[in-house]
Amino acid sequence: MIALPVLIPLFTAILLVFSNQARYQKIIGVSGAFAIFATSLFIISNVGGKQIEVLQSSNWEAPFGISLVVDTFSALMLVITGFVSFALAVYSLFYIDEKLITHRYFLFFHTLLMGVNGAFITGDVFNLYVWFEVMLMSSFVLITLGSKPLQLKGGIKYLTMNLVASLFFLAGIGILYGKTGTLNMAHLAVILQNDEQAILMNTSTMLFFMAFGIKAAVFPFFFWLPSSYHTPPVAVTAFFAALLTKVGVYAMIRVFTLFFIQDPQFWHTLLLAVAGLTMVVGGMAAASHYEIRRILSFHIISQIGYMIFGLGVFTPLALAGAIYFMIHNMLAKTNTFLVAGHINRLKGTYKLKSIGGLYKSYPLLGILFIIPAFALAGVPPLPGFFGKFFLIKAGFEAEKWFISGVAIFTGVLTLFSMIKIWNEAFFKKGLEEVPEQGLRERLPLRELLPSMMLGAGTILLGIGAGVFFDYFIEAGNQLMNSDQYIQVVLKNFEYVAN
C-alpha cells in the first residue's frame, strides 16, 4: 500500500510514454496526479498520527531489503505533495504549451513526483540517493523543456550544482557504508548509537550536510536556485518551489534526527548559524529585487532558513514547527508562483515596474495573491503565523535568543517584499499602454481554480491548526525518539550492539 505513491506515478509515466497526443497526455497526467493525492490521503488515515508503517520491498527483511517506511512526518509530506501536485497538474493544463505537453511534459512531471515521493518514504540511504537522482533528472529535463536560451543557461547552472551535491551525497554514502556495513537507516541508527567511536562519522555527516544543504539551498550553497528558478515556465517553477528544496530539508531532518545524532552541540550550532544566515540573506535579497519570480525565489531561501532553524533547535515542538512551516510553505509559495503566472498572462511580464492596476481590474486575483502572501508574511490566523509561533516558542524555550530574534526580525523583511509586490502590481496605477498582442484580457474562472484550491488549503491549515497540531507534534515526537522507528523497521532482526 505505502509503495503506491511511487508506483502510481511510474505507471502513469509509462502510460504517457505510449501516447503522444496532447489530449491523452492531459487526461492521463491529471488523473494520475489525482490518484496519487487520493492514495496519500488513504495512507495518512492509516498511519493516523500514531503508527509507523513499514514495507519491506522484495520481501527481504530489513536491513537486507529496501525498507519503505511511513511515519507521520512522511505521511504528512506525502499528503501535501499529492495535494499541491494535483493542483499544479490542473494548472499545467492551462499554462503549459501544447507543444511541451506533446513533448511529454507530464511524463517528467510524474517521474519528478515519483522521485519526491520515493525520497519521502524510503528507509534506505542508497535508495534515497536513487530517488534524488530520479527527481533531479526529471527536474533537469523540466527546467530545460522548451529549449529557450534563457532556460538552457539556467539549466546548466542548476544541473552542475545539483550534480555536485549528488556526488557529495554518494561519497558520503560510500564512506558511511564502509564504516558501518549497512545502508538501512534504522540499522544505521542502531549501529551509530552504540558506537562510541561514532564521532568519526562526522566527515560523512558533513558530506551529507553539504549535499542536502545544496539541495535545500541554504546559505553558502543557494546560488543555483535564484539563478535558475526564473527561467522555466511558471508552472514548472511553482512545482520546483513546492517540492525540490523541501525534499532537501526533509532529508536533512531525517538524517539528523535518526542517525547523525552524535556531537549535537557542534551540529546544532552549525545548523543554527546556517539557518540564521539563510534567513537574513534570502530576505534581504528578496527585498531588493523587482522581478516577481526572483523575489519569490529568494524568498524561498529565506523560508528554508526557518525550517533549518527548527531542526537546529531540536525539540519536538521545534521539529513540529519546522514540519508545519514546510507544509505551509509548500502551499503558499506554490500559490504565489501561480498568481505570478496569472499576472504574466495578463501583463506579459514579471517585472514589477511595468505592472500595475491589477487590483482594480482583477480583484479576485488580488484576493488569491493576498492569501498566500499574507500567509508567508505571518499574518494571523494564516498558517505562517502559527509556524513562526511554534518555532519561536521552541526557540525561546531552548533559550536560543539570538537566532529567535533573527527569525522574528526576518518577518519584517518578508512582509516588506510581499507588500512590495502587492503595491507595485496591484495597487499602483496601471500603465496606460496598449496591451501587446496575444495577451489575455480576462482570466476564466477555471484557470484560477488551482490557486483557489491552494488558497483554501492555506486557510484551512491556519484555522485548523489546532486540529492538525496533534499530527505535527506527533511527527516531532517520532523524530525525536527514534526508538519506535527502529523497532518497527527492524522488528525481525536481532540488533544487539555489534
Binding site: 536560451p149 552542475t160 555536485v164 560510500g174 564512506i175 557504508y177 564502509g178
Partner: protein
Amino acid sequence: MLALLVGVLSSTGVYLLLRRSVLKLVLGIIFLSNAVNLTIFIAAGLVQGKPVFVSEDAANPADMADPIPQALILTAIVISFGLVAFTLALKYKYFSLSDTDDLDELKELEE
C-alpha cells in the same frame, strides 16, 4: 596509493569544473563521478581476485569481496551515464543556440 588516485581524480574534476568551457565542465563531472565511485569501492574494502559468485555447496562470505558496493557503483555508473548524456545534449543545444562555449556568457541574464 589508491587514495591518492582518488585525490588526483577529484582535483582534476574540480579544476575542470572551474574552467570556462562547457565541455570541460562535462569532463569534470565525469572525473568527479569516477572519483566518487572509486571512493565507495575503496571505502568498502578491497579484496583481490575473489568475485562474488556462489555455488550450491560453498558460500563462505569471508572469502568473497563485498557485493553491495559493486551493486551500488553499478547503479551509480548507469545513472551518471544518463546524466552525462543529458548534459552533453544540453551543451550541444546551448552551443547551437548561443554559439558560445564560454560559461561566463551565462552571466548577462542575472540582474
